[in-house]
Structure formats: C-alpha cells, structure tokens
C-alpha cells in the first residue's frame, strides 16, 4: 500500500507494530481484528493452510482401510478417527479464514500444487497395521508438534489447536492399542506390525517435524541453516515455541520405551540412551533424502492430490446445487423433518 509513504501513516504503523511487538513479548494473543505485520499473516496462512491440508490429505491412507478393518470394533474406531480428521480440517480452514483467505481458494491452491500437505502422507498405507503405525507414530509426532501450538500467539489458531490436540492424543492411544493387539496376536500379525513400523518411523521422525533447524539436529550447522532461519522468525513471533529438533528429540524419547513395551524394533540402529544428555541418541535426519519425498514427482504425492481433485470435481455439481438452493430468494427455510 502506498499509504505508508506519508509520514503520518508511517508513524501510525510504527505505533501499531510497537503494540504488536509488546503484545507478543508479554505472551498475549493476537486476534483477527488486531493489526499484524504482513509477514506474520502470511506465515500463519501458510502454516495453518498446510496443517488443514494435511488433515484432509491424511484421511486418505487410513480412509483406504475403512472398508477392510478386521473387526467391527476397529472399524468403528477408524471411522471415528477419520471423521475427527475431517473435523480438524474444518476447524483449521475456519481459523485460516479469519486471516482473510477463503477455504475454496486454499483448496484450489492445494489441488494446483501451490500449497502442500505434510509429505508424511506421500507414503502408502500398505497393510492394516499401517493404520496403527500412522496413529501411534504420525499422530504421536503431531501431538508433540502441536501441543505448543495451543499457546501460539494467534488466538483462533490456538483455540482450534486445543480441540485438535485433545482428539489427536486419543488417536495416539488408539493407534498404540491397535499395535498392541497385533503384537499380542499371531506371529503373522506381529510381523505385519513390525513391517509397518519399519516403513512409518522415518517419515514420522523426519517429515512431521520439518527440516533440522539446529546444528545438533542436522548433519552440521550449514545444512540446518535454512530451517533455522524460518524457525527463528516463527519463534520471534510466538507462532512456534520450540525448534524442530527439540520436538523431534521429545518424540524419539517418548517412542523408544513404547516400542520396547510393544516388543517392536524401531528401524534406527543408532538409537541408544545417552546418560550424559538425558536423551536417546538417534541418526540425524539427512534432509537431502527427504527433499525427494517432499517433491511432487512421486507416485504417492501425485496420487494424494489426484484423489482430492477427483473428489472435488465429481462433487462440483452437488456444491453448485447447494449454493443455488441457498441463494434462491424463494427458498423456504429448511424444515426440520
């Protein structure tokens, strides 16, 4: 805006920025009508949209098993979980809309490949045990990632995350319970559980937390530099509260004893307790390996988006009908049958 060119407007903006900075510094909450820097708004839109997209894309690998769940109890649990994810997508799109964007535009951006969902879901769910591994590991990682977001500086996002986190924590327990049942079952069931963990561990560790952003978490300070710059900015604004690597460590520390209790092996030979640090050591994330998984040019990255796009296009006539019905002046209010 050219308004900032006049000295009065500039002074006003300085004042608004000072107020914003002070609010952030004292741990206050920014609300939709409050002034906020463009960069803050853009970072939030990007992050919340990516999070919302991840919820609805994340419905796919588990959703594919709804019709094959091996007991009616597990089927009910899985339906409820996938339903929760649709709900999380809706809370988060609503939170993003408070920043002046439209859900339809965000979905279009996802469908056109301009916005992304978490690359974790660019992995296939190959067996029933994958639904357990996803819930235990991927949702487990999500809870660790997201718990601090309940105190993030943007009010609508923080409030959405409080609801999301409660439900996610329940999904983790359900996932662990599913894996426990498999591990206590036949040798074939246990083998299926181990195979799923072998395939979902690294995507959870690497992709759910983002790139290394500390020298300790990356192979070296140089490779961690780009991630560190983004994290510094997000932390200064109170959007993020911890580095990716801190949260990743917390996740590993949580999972190792759980895996031991299940009798499953996490596929990282470097995992061992480090008395001095008071944490488990593990192989640093080699981000270059994951750059490929992050790209659009993998079968599953394309498939997830194609599935979304097909559903969206197939349903266009339904949405058009609903919009036309709602817009019609002569439409009587919907009766409650």
């Amino acid at each position: 805006m050219s308004a900032s060119a006049t000295p009065a407007a500039s002074a006003e903006q300085d004042e608004a920025l000072a107020h914003f900075d002070a609010l952030i510094a004292e741990g206050g909450t920014i609300e939709p009508r409050d002034w906020m820097p463009d960069g803050y708004r853009r970072m939030l839109i990007r992050q919340i949209a990516q999070h919302a997209h991840s919820e609805i894309i994340g419905m796919q690998p588990e959703g594919a098993w709804l019709t094959r769940a091996p007991s009616l109890h597990r089927k009910s649990v899985l339906i409820a979980k996938v339903q929760d994810e649709a709900g999380h997508g809706l809370y988060l799109y609503s939170a993003a809309e408070t920043l002046g964007v439209d859900r339809a535009d965000l979905l279009d951006a996802l469908h056109r490949g301009q916005q992304r969902a978490s690359a974790t879901f660019n992995h296939p769910a190959l067996t029933w045990a994958d639904t357990g591994a996803i819930a235990w590991l991927t949702d487990g990682a999500a809870v660790i990632n997201q718990a601090p977001l309940c105190r993030t500086s943007y009010g609508p996002y923080a409030r959405a995350m409080r609801r999301v986190c409660q439900e996610e924590a329940f999904h983790v327990r359900q996932g662990y319970d599913l894996m426990r049942a498999l591990c206590e079952g036949t040798p074939e069931q246990k083998a299926m559980a181990q195979d799923a963990v072998n395939r979902w561990w690294l995507p959870a560790v690497a992709l759910m937390f983002g790139p290394p952003d500390t020298a300790a978490g990356g192979a070296d300070a140089r490779t961690a530099a780009p991630g560190a710059a983004v994290s510094r900015r997000a932390m200064a604004w109170g959007i993020k509260r911890h580095t990716n690597d801190e949260l990743r460590q917390r996740f590993v520390d949580q999972c190792v004893p759980q895996a031991e209790r299940l009798g499953l092996t996490l596929p990282d030979r470097a995992i061992r307790w480090n008395e001095e640090r008071g944490h488990y050591d593990f192989t640093p994330v080699d981000w270059d390996v994951y750059r490929q998984a992050l790209g659009d040019e993998t079968h599953w990255a394309r498939q997830r988006i194609a599935h979304r796009r097909t559903a969206h296009e197939d349903g266009a006539w339904v949405r058009e009908a609903a919009a036309a019905y709602a817009a019609r002046a002569d439409t009587a209010p919907e009766e409650t049958a």
Partner: protein, 279 residues
Amino acid sequence: MTTTSDAPANPTTPGPAVVAAVGGGTAPAPDADLAVHLLRLGDDALVLGQRLCQWITRAPTVEEDLALSNIALDLIGHARVLLDRAGRLDGTGRTEDDLAFTRPEREFTNALLTELPGGDFAVTVARQLAYTHYAVLYYEALAGCADAELAAFGARAAKEVAFHRLHADRWILRLGRGTPKSARRMRLGLERVWPYTGELFDEDDVMRRLAASGTVPSPAPLRPAWERRVTEVVARAGLTVPAPSWSARGGRDGLHTEEFGPLIAELQSVHRQFPGGTW
C-alpha cells in the same frame, strides 16, 4: 458366559432346532426366528455402513465426508448390537465379528437396496432417503416391543436415524431444487433406487410368526406411513416418487447382486488373511 436373562424361555442349551408350536405344525422356536430377523436388520445396517465408508475422502465437501462418516459410524454401531444378539439367539454362539467376517455372501440377508453401488451422490441420497424413513418407523415400532434389550436398542437407534433422515431430507431438497442438472440427477437417483425399496417391507413366514406372537413388529404395516412421508419430502424437492414397474427381492434369502461379492470380499479380506488373529 452371561446367563440368558433376556430369554427366559431358553433351554440350557439353546439351539435352532428347538421346536415351538406357533399356529400349529412344526415351526422354529421364536429365538431362531428372532435371530433370522435380527440378522437381516443387522446386515442392512452393516452393508449400508460399508457402502457409506466407501464415500469417505470422496465426498463433495469436507462437511459431507464428516456427515457420511458419522452416519456410517452409527450404522456399524447398530450392526454390532443386532449381530451380537442374533449370534446369541441362534444357538451357534457366533460373535458379531464371526457373523460379519466369516459368513459367505449367500448367508448375508440384507435387503438389496443397501448393497447397490453408491458412487453417485444422488443415488446415495435417494437410498438414504428411502432407508432412513423406513428405519425410523421400524425402530420406533421396535422400541415398543416386550424384549427390554431390543426395545432400548430401538429407541436409541430411532433417535440416531432421525438425524440421518434429516440429512437425507435436506439433501434431496438441495438437489431437487438446486440446479436443472442436480434435479435431473436426483430424479435418476430416485428411479435407480425405488424398485429396491419394497423389499424393506416384505413379510415372509418368519416375519409373520414373529409378528403374530407379538415378539417384534412387522415392517409391512408401516409401508403406508413411509409412502406418505417420502412422498411429502420428494414433492417438496419438486420431484415425484417413482412408480416402478418391478420390485427387486432376494436379499432376505441370500440372493444378492453381482456387486455384492466384491463388497463382502473387501469387508472380510484382512480378517480372513489372518486365521486365528485377534484384533
């Protein structure tokens, strides 16, 4: 094992072969009849729930993914109650999962309506309309039966299905009165589904014995009320209830559509791949 407090007339080893004299001649014991009936209701809920599961992640909006999964969850819940009870009544001791995951296609007794492929949203809405209006009426009637367990289930299920009915009613209005395209598709959806609605109200010997003994109500007398209600909703949507020249049946006797085999194969695949598995 729990004692069969719900079936005081049960001998200590209940079995389908137990004979009771209802209306003269030899007829299966009321328990065996009731098991057949509950299995039919349970299979309706299970198979329709399975069809709705196929929508999830493919619905026209995220709200609809959520709504259809919510409905599917309720239906699977109904199936669990009904199959569990059927397994306790028929003397085989089969669990809900035994019944859902180990029976071959020919032993499923759902109405054909519930198994029709549902990839077209208008077909799904038409089926939901027909089924939910029927199910509310039937479960409300079941809520008045003498069997306390079934009456409680009927009362709960009727309340849940009333929400599913509201969902169907709203969609047929939106589609019927939305755009010319949606009205045409909705009309075709109704035409596709309607020949399969009659089977919901069919009455065979099993049903007649159960109704005559006052065990559970028959759905047959509910048909006029159902016709009235669906006709009213369909008319509000600017459409007409089709008058099909034929009526499909066979599901209650295990004679299904060819599309049913793949549905059951998918439903049972994991369970069957792991013999002796615990889940």
